[in-house]
Amino acid sequence: MIRTPLRPLARILSARERGENPDAIERENIRLRGEAARDRTRLRAEGRLLVMGVLFLMAFVTVGARMGVLAAVDPQEPQLAESGPAILTQRADILDRSGRVLATNLVTHSLYAQPQMMVDPARVAQELIEIFPDLDGKRLSADLTGKRKFLWIKKKISPEQMQAVHDIGDPGLLFGPREMRLYPNGHLAAHILGGARFDKEGVSSAEVVGVAGVEKAFDTWLRDPANDGAPLTLSIDLTVQAAVEEVLAGGMKLMNAKGATAILMEVGTGEIVAMASLPDFDPNDRPAPLTKGDASDSPLFNRAVQGVYELGSTFKIFAVAQALELGLVNPATMIATQSPMIYGKFRIRDFHNYGAQLSVTDIIVKSSNIGTARIAQMIGADRQRAFLGTLGFLEPTPVELVEAPTGRPLIPAKWSEISAMTIGYGHGLSASPLHLASAYATVANGGRKVAPTLLHGQPHAPGAQVINPDVAAEALKMMRLVVTRGTASFGEVQGYQVAGKTGTADKTKPTGGYYKDKVIATFAAVFPVNAPKYVMVLTLDEPVETSGSEPRRTAGWTAVPVGAEVIRRTAPLLGLRPEMEAAEDMGLTLVRN
């Protein structure tokens, strides 16, 4: 308890002296002090209440003024686009190596309906069926007259259809602007481009995403606004691609093949100038993937990249090159080729019996399985595996297609000596034609590794030296002899110095073993041989050449003539100058003055 001092002490003391009770004085004092304090606090409170009143008045005025400012502003229509992440449009174009358009965008419209805004849904349904006969009439009228508030009717409509829908004149029919993907060249380069579809669809725009090929592989890049519309330039040459596809289609028909593929690749850079796979499709109207059966029968299947086949004798050049590289043989070394060659329970045969022995060059020229098997035996399984690995045969190709990783080579689980012997002549290891083209390009590139690419003009470091340049030159020389006097004699194209190697592989049965009458015929060519510029690989699936007395299936009769035609058509387009030897009998007299 707070003790209150007796105040005023002087008066209290004097009162005590006079014998009076000082309480009255103290009470009087307390009352006076209380009154003084009350006056003081009241004055202070008066000021502070005034402050409070002014503050409140200011606050009310502020709220009122703010209301007035808001009321004076015209309301803005809420923007749909601001209410969510905008759907990106403007996909970049895809061009060929000289700037011709392979894929671009076209402004079009989608058609949607808001049935609750419709005047006469039944009539609208009827008239829509007349414009779009493919619509399900019953379902459409049920949707329009039912409780639905929104439905898409068509994803893409033509200007004529749009006008016709306009003419129905119903406010419940609305158009959403769209940018659709257009491939102006139709089937050309279909497997490379792949295709696109609408992904996230809104009323005001829709997202276009790639579904296959480079469209999907470069999807993020093509949609990236940071690129500012820069097109994607592919290494494809549209003219060459068209020529290759035309020749290939004709050849496939002529040779009664069920499928065909051709690759034309630049040797120095690995750029793919043309790549075709038949049968093909129109990326503007991609067929649905097969739901049953073998996916490789679908036109969507890219035989050049996804298809892995035993490519047969085209592999022999790698065994020979490696043997030359290792110094096991030289081109003139004689190898025993007595047929059949017996290894354990296996028998290896040649197409013809080539006698007791052949030189290494002749093994290539005549395509002797036995000779190659013996060379592979000399190399051994481990070294062979390592060498094929450096050529890229053990991994999928690095080409810029989403399908590329599915083209994984099939290699034996156990790389035994017999595996090495069969792989030496191209059986027991399945790889895609693009693998083969890359490996041939490596040989043609003086032994420097070539990686396939679809992009044009990208800087690239020269590949690793995987084969000695002299060995590579030796191999090319042998391949030239294959064309001039060997199995690929139909492959000679006047003036373009074609070198190459044929390969005829029996097709494997899905149940195991090999078909007797179904082959994969391949022609892998390099031209011109004295300064290799291009590699061409052409593969026919189950070809039969029936002009002779008995059906002929070997590559020399099927793939090689078609391949030669491809080179004959494309070499001038590629800007190669034919080397014409000035013949004595040309009737010209050279004069000098």
Partner: protein, 388 residues
């Protein structure tokens, strides 16, 4: 003779209750409150229809309810405003005690109506929010303590009031009901200020508030989201604030017309927290300014009348009641015009709400009772020849 037979005519000590009430009451404030109530009914006709429709009730069900509760509230207000300051104090302290106990019993008997905070007692036909009734009682209680502390050798009332305030704020924060808690804190601070708080302390308080705000921002995600929404420059049109802003803009100066507004259909709280947006959309800026002016009249007139008041209790209690009333209206409208971050707070008398309107009626009745004009010792001043 008559007087000898029948006794003298009884002489009353003062004038009759009603005439004196009418003579001394602040008629402007009374009229303003009545007008606010009428505007509330008018807006309820528009704003509560969607709610009734949603709950499958007759369209004007909530208007009828509001008229009933509003009638009770107005009656309570008039009755309370007839009390003398001492009676107000007794009523307030009693009310505080009851409401405080009710508040403590909430966790046991209360219900949250699925809104996440246990704030209500449900009585079937109506629900009661004890914190609404606690506020006026709390103000009276604190004013009593503070006034007592101003006596010579009086109790340390400011410390007591501080303790009471802390307890109430803690109880409210536990519910959690930060809106009511901040109102309680604010009314205590205002009374402390008027009762003579050291200016140094008052200048430190805003700093503390800022620090507390930062702590809440970092501690509570809910709180942080609201502040972020307030600070961002563009308004998301799908939020409540977005709808409210759009409604005010649509309304312009004269409104889109009675019953033509659309915001009440999109805002779930159109009949309570955002009723001002409904008013702005249908009746325009005009009605909004009238509403603001009515609140300003009640608050500012009360404060000015209290400046003349000599009794510390009356002055402090009146200040607390007037400021709590005014600040609640200010916060509600400030949120709608985006001067303040979103905080659910009803607009007293205008918003729909059964128990809250009765509580507001009681509080306003107390305020009116305290601001009645009464002798302020002018005559004794003259007699005592004192300065004032």
């Amino acid at each position: 003779m008559t007087e000898m037979v029948f006794g003298t005519v009884p002489i009353r000590a003062g004038e009759p209750v009603l005439p004196r009430w009418w003579r001394t009451i602040d008629k402007w404030a009374l009229a303003s409150v009545l007008m606010l109530f009428c505007i509330g009914i008018l807006l309820g006709l528009a704003a509560s229809v969607p709610l009734a429709e949603k709950n499958g009730l007759p369209p004007f069900y909530y208007v009828q309810r509001q008229m009933f509760f509003g009638g009770v509230a107005l009656a309570a207000m008039v009755l309370v405003s007839m009390l003398s300051p001492v009676q107000v104090r007794r009523l307030g302290v009693l009310g505080f005690a009851v409401a405080f106990v009710a508040l403590m019993l909430l966790p046991i008997f209360g219900t949250d109506f699925g809104k996440g905070a246990v704030r209500w007692f449900s009585f079937g036909f109506a629900s009661v929010q004890p914190s609404e009734f606690l506020k006026p009682g709390f103000v009276i209680m604190v004013a009593w303590f503070m006034a007592a502390s101003q006596e010579v050798a009086g109790p340390p009332g400011k410390v007591y009031s501080f303790v009471v305030m802390l307890m109430v704020v803690a109880l409210l924060a536990l519910q959690p009901d930060f809106g009511q808690a901040s109102l309680v804190l604010f009314s205590w601070a205002v009374m402390y200020f008027v009762a003579g708080a050291p200016l140094l302390l008052m200048s430190v308080l805003p700093v503390l508030a800022v620090v507390g705000g930062f702590a809440a921002y970092n501690g509570s995600e809910h709180f942080a989201r609201r502040i972020d929404g307030f600070l961002s420059t563009d308004i998301d049109p799908r939020t409540q604030i977005g709808y409210a802003t759009n409604a005010i803009q649509e309304g312009g100066f004269f409104g889109v017309g009675v019953g033509e507004g659309t915001v009440k259909w999109s805002l779930p709280d159109a009949h309570t927290d955002f009723i001002i947006a409904v008013a702005a959309e249908e009746y325009g800026l005009i009605l909004v300014l009238v509403i603001i002016a009515l609140y300003a009249v009640v608050v500012v007139r009360s404060l000015i009348r209290l400046m003349r008041e000599r009794d510390p209790f009356t002055r402090l209690a009146g200040t607390g009641l007037a400021c709590a009333f005014g600040v609640q209206a200010l916060i509600n409208m400030g949120v709608a015009v985006r001067l303040l971050p979103a905080k659910g707070m009803t607009l007293p008398f205008v918003s729909y709400g059964g128990s809250s309107v009765i509580a507001s009626g009681v509080a306003l009745g107390m305020l009116l009772a305290l601001t009645r004009s009464r002798p302020q010792g002018q005559i004794s001043d003259i007699l005592a020849r004192r300065g004032r």
